[in-house]
Symmetry: C2
């Protein structure tokens, strides 16, 4: 089966100018043209990141590729090639691997990313997908978590919370958006919201050796978070979902006040850019409400990753 699967995949994925050697040899060869190489890897599992009994393989495949693309976006790098390892249950239908890949291909093609290799095996356990994304830096260099400066505004893309209603599968990695932003605005630091706004804010604050003050009323709350709360009032307030749910895969950016004000005024993207607070000298996480009262902000969120 594997040889046929490789043949199918080789025929299914288009050739790519940056991939001088793709699927079928011992390794792939990528031409990055002297840029630095940016690499991230994510392992997703049935029962944690998706449910193979509930979700279509195409959506699962899409998510597996999208979460790694989101890391590349958080580095403000151009994605080049994806490498997909699959562990497929022996009991699953024989087309599962192909259907997972079919879910990745439209997203890959839309961002000009090659699926350039992988490793597919069957076993008696549950479905496991590991995706590695290789990208290249732009002239502006990589956007790290460590560059936020006290005084910088905290800017987020899109709206947050309630991804469990489906958006955690239909991830739209902000690759094009960050590359477009960076052409016109200086950005000091960035991270994607994978484990929760508050938790990922704590990461960027820690790496930048400063603190954050979040203005709760400024957080753009996704309608999904409001729906969650309307359906189940015991789940807490919508803003708590925006702070803690995670898997939004929006970007948190640190931008100097004058540049951030211009960016927010111009709204250059199809998705909104919103100021939700600022970075401060004193370490720690703080929240302020409408009356300006300051209280500690717990770094809530879903923590199950090794930092990528």
């Amino acid at each position: 089966m594997e040889t046929e699967f490789i043949s199918w995949l080789r025929s299914r994925v288009a050739s790519h100018p940056r991939v001088s050697l793709g699927i079928g040899d011992d390794a792939a060869v990528l031409q990055l043209g002297g840029a630095d190489c940016v690499v991230t890897t994510d392992m997703l599992t049935d029962g944690v990141d998706f449910d193979v009994d509930l979700h279509a393989p195409s959506r699962i495949g899409h998510k597996a590729l999208a979460v790694s693309l989101s890391d590349i976006a958080a580095m403000a790098a151009e994605p080049v090639a994806a490498f997909v390892s699959l562990l497929v249950p022996k009991s699953s239908e024989p087309t599962l691997a192909a259907r997972l890949l079919e879910g990745m291909i439209p997203l890959a093609e839309s961002l000009d990313v090659a699926i350039a290799g992988g490793d597919t095996n069957t076993w008696k356990g549950k479905l496991v997908i590991n995706t590695t994304l290789v990208g290249k830096t732009t002239g502006a260099g990589p956007l790290t978590r460590g560059g936020a400066r006290p005084g910088d505004w905290i800017v987020v893309t899109g709206a947050l919370g309630g991804s469990i209603l489906g958006r955690h599968l239909d991830v739209r990695p902000r690759v094009r958006e960050i590359l477009e932003l960076r052409k016109h605005y200086a950005i000091h630091a960035g991270i994607d919201v994978s484990d929760g706004l508050a938790f990922d804010l704590s990461r960027i604050a820690q790496e930048s050796q400063c603190g954050v003050v979040v203005e709760l009323d400024a957080i753009p709350i996704h309608n999904d978070a409001r729906r969650l709360v309307a359906d189940k009032p015991d789940l807490g307030a919508a803003v708590d979902h925006a702070l803690g749910d995670g898997e939004d895969f929006e970007l948190i950016l640190a931008v100097a006040p004058d540049v951030a004000a211009r960016m927010i005024d111009q709204q250059p993207l199809e998705i909104p850019l919103t100021r939700i607070g600022r970075f401060v000298d004193e370490p720690g996480m703080w929240q302020t409400d409408a009356r300006g009262l300051r209280a500690p902000l717990p770094a809530i969120g879903f923590q199950h990753k090794l930092g990528e």
Copy 2:
């Protein structure tokens, strides 16, 4: 736990001149200095590639890194950085992830490879390890499977067969060896023996659009293959183990006759280089015995991979 694990790993792995950003951000940044980027990925599972109840975590970790390094060796590339995804059973001891990494670190350090990122999760299933290796091409370019020419000699490193007795864990990827060979000899094509000499020969023949004639009596048979047969005569002849066992992680090379003859005469490595046959015009796999009689050679071997 994960944050502590990241902190531990960050402190445990040395900084590396080619890794400008390592563990702890959204992705790693590698400086390849204008060379092409070579990427391979392998997923290993408990019960198939190792047995977590029988094998020490350090040996399992070593194997997981070594099989990907062997792919980099088969491309004659210089390995630069490794990215390790772990799925650790919730029931396992809390130090398992660290002990697996501790098994990788000596091998990584011996080849100047950085462990630059990864993704660690726990789950209710069995141990899964995915390793992605990123390397860079040398001035000679990548060594593919597709460059063998009719008339080329088939040259193998080391000795083959019986890896199941333990060598399949204690893999010695031929990274230094191939880089050294390529400084002095033109090599047309290469592949590593992961799934079996005969099967991997069929891959290099197919990609090079030619055939192979293997001289059975010339195959360097490992003592492990002879021990296997001595202990269990019903397992077949030692040469069959050399042809079909796989996981030897030696290299099969295609070299022009004059260069190959010089290489074999000079024996520039600590491990032997042996001529085992030649590439021929007519497609197909053939074997000859001591009397020169020719018969088809079945492409036996263990087939469970996607071609990497």
